[in-house]
């Protein structure tokens, strides 16, 4: 078992990670009451809020997978974030003043103030269901990648990440989470920026940064803005400008406005203005940040055009397919693929030379040759991936592994350790926020509201710590279970998003449709959840009969939200009329 990390890397990784944990413990010392534990005593400044929101959203898989997305699919994923600034403005105007006026601990508390207890319980239950599963995934997803690339035991990595998070989250609550997230974001941004700069410095001397962008563009990777040309593309393609602006706005509204793991990041703000600026900070910097991370993936693609790269980045899968009957066929494909390495590099160098010399005819010829060679390499790789996917239990996707494979293979000692610290920081920042939110929702919306309403502040503080610890153990156990079945991860990620539309619908009705009352919205929420689950699962169950229902799951947020409002209005008409009849003898 090789680790692929030198002593310096271990020191940098361990030192950075432990320093952040100790900082979190130190900054949140002396927390003696439930208000301090869950709302940080309303002392958070806008920059803490802004960085905390950003760090909560960016999990380890974001930093592993996004460069891989750029490498394989180009820049178009950036469009996914176009709805975020719009959503942040709406939340700033509509939700923040309401949450602060009622001085709520959780977003779902507001639902009871506006409707009734069943609706509050429905909102919090949907959140707990979706987020508790996602909490485990946040931990296990990077652990699986670290196992395949470094040989680390997945279970031990899950326990390690979970234990580090629990040390400061149990002890310091919201304040510890938010304070550590500032340091974690600093480590993440520094690590990613250095990786990008070092990558460009490792290019061949004749290849400059702008040249690399031109080559990326000629290879179809600078697809920053894409428009759907058919209705099918509009509905099923997740990443185009329309889905980004419309469906992305709904997704961001539900995630940042109603998901307690985000809402808790800003409820502890010093004032409405501090919270708003924190949200708008995220609105301003999120898209440029994602652009930068995707660009690293695109620059990595160009790097590999000039240096040999594996046909498939998951070495375990490669070994597994080579050991089967399809092994010789796969090995032959690999040989053909690597035979193209030099030709691809030479043809792009020819294109660069012709372009710099102003020889347009030679430039066009070299470009055509390079593009043909790249297309051939892609076809061979696709055949290889098809062989891998035929093996039972295989994992035919290697996108999440591309960036870390590059880091381990090409980056210098020390920087590898820093990038590993980036992965740990990202995993810890997301999971600490999730555990913190799960504990506060269970305490405030379930335990304090429905099980033990009259208890001392000390009791609730102690209970919050136990709940954080309990949810942490659940997340670690689920992570270990999910680690055995990696394909589960994709389903659970999607499953989480199946609840967002309904939750957002409850809040949209609460904010904008004052005539709809509790009973109508509660049943509308239940019906909608059934509808959303049906829209997602029926095409999977029978493609032949329900294939027409197959739409990108990003749109389910909008459908869920609109359906709650629609069903709520209809039910209110019916229930309202019945209520009137009952009133009249």
């Amino acid at each position: 078992m090789t680790t692929g990390m030198a002593l310096l890397d271990w020191l940098v990784m361990a030192g950075t990670t432990l320093a952040i944990v100790l900082y979190g413990l130190w900054k949140s010392r002396g927390n003696q009451n439930i208000r301090g534990y869950l709302l940080s005593n309303h002392d958070m400044k806008w920059w803490t809020i802004g960085l905390s929101i950003m760090a909560t959203q960016a999990s380890a898989i974001t930093f592993l997978s996004t460069p891989g997305q750029g490498f394989g699919d180009g820049m178009r994923f950036v469009q996914f974030y176009f709805g975020l600034p719009i959503a942040m403005i709406i939340i700033s105007i509509v939700a923040i003043p309401r949450y602060r006026k009622l001085d709520v601990y959780t977003a779902y508390e507001y639902l009871e103030q506006r409707f009734d207890l069943p609706t509050r319980t429905l909102g919090s239950a949907l959140f707990l269901l979706g987020r508790s599963l996602a909490g485990g995934i946040t931990i296990v997803a990077p652990a699986i990648i670290l196992e395949t690339l470094l040989g680390w035991d997945t279970n031990l990595t899950c326990i390690g990440i979970g234990a580090l998070v629990l040390i400061y989250t149990v002890s310091g609550g919201t304040k510890a989470v938010s304070q550590t997230q500032q340091q974690q974001m600093a480590v993440i941004l520094l690590g990613m920026a250095l990786a990008g700069v070092v990558m460009v410095l490792m290019y061949p001397p004749e290849l400059g940064f702008v040249d690399a962008l031109h080559i990326a563009g000629k290879s179809g990777k600078m697809n920053l803005i894409t428009l759907p040309s058919t209705f099918d593309e509009f509905a099923s393609d997740r990443y185009n400008i329309l889905s980004g602006l419309v469906a992305g706005t709904f997704l961001s509204l539900s995630y940042f406005g109603t998901d307690q793991s985000q809402v808790q990041r800003y409820l502890g703000g010093k004032s409405v203005s501090e919270i708003r600026i924190g949200l708008l900070f995220n609105a301003i910097f999120k898209i440029p940040m994602q652009f930068g991370i995707l660009l690293i993936g695109v620059l990595m693609y160009v790097f590999y055009l000039f240096s040999p790269n594996p046909m498939f980045f998951n070495e375990q899968e490669r070994q597994a397919i080579l050991a089967t009957e399809a092994g010789p066929a796969y090995a032959a494909l690999e040989e053909r693929y690597h035979r193209l390495d030099d030709s691809v590099s030479t043809s792009w160098q020819g294109w660069l030379a012709a372009r710099n010399a102003g020889d347009t005819q030679q430039e066009a010829m070299a470009l055509e040759q390079a593009q043909q060679l790249e297309a051939t390499a892609s076809r061979i790789r696709a055949e290889g991936v098809a062989l891998i996917s035929e093996r039972e239990g295989s994992r035919p996707k290697d996108q999440d592994r591309v960036f870390l494979a590059f880091v381990l293979e090409h980056l210098p000692e020390g920087l590898v350790g820093l990038l590993m610290a980036v992965i740990f920081a990202a995993a810890m920042s997301s999971s600490s926020a999730e555990l913190n939110a799960l504990a506060s929702t269970t305490l405030v919306d379930i335990y304090k509201r429905q099980i033990r309403p009259e208890a001392t502040d000390k009791h609730y503080l102690s209970m919050s710590r136990w709940l954080t610890l309990g949810w942490g153990v659940v997340a670690i156990c689920f992570a270990i279970l999910a680690g055995q079945f990696e394909n589960l991860i994709e389903y659970v990620n999607i499953l989480g998003s199946l609840f967002y539309g309904t939750i957002l619908g409850l809040f949209v009705v609460a904010f904008f449709l004052p005539s709809i009352k509790g009973k109508a919205v509660f049943w509308a929420g239940l019906i909608t959840e059934g509808l959303v689950l049906a829209i997602y699962f029926l095409p999977i169950w029978s493609e032949e009969i329900f294939g027409w229902l197959n739409i990108g799951y990003l749109w389910l947020n909008m459908i869920g939200c609109v359906a709650v409002a629609g069903f709520g209005s209809l039910l209110q008409l019916v229930l309202g009329a019945e209520g009137e009849k009952k009133k009249k003898p």
């Binding site: 105007i93 962008l213 898209i287 440029p288 004052p514």
Partner: protein
């Protein structure tokens, strides 16, 4: 319904505008900050479109 008083148009700054000015003296009104965020989004889309074309 929705409270838009913090986006007041009057020459007198609302209480919320004044709080914004305390945090960010350069920005006078919330409305200006919201418009700046939207303008940045539009600017980024135009920039991305231009980059797509330029490097294609």
């Amino acid at each position: 319904m929705i409270n838009l008083s913090h986006m007041s148009q009057s020459p007198q700054y609302s209480e919320e505008d004044q709080e914004l000015q305390r945090l960010f003296p350069l920005v006078k009104r919330w409305k200006s900050l919201y418009l700046f965020v939207l303008a940045e989004l539009v600017g980024l889309i135009i920039l991305f479109f231009t980059l797509s074309r330029f490097f294609s």
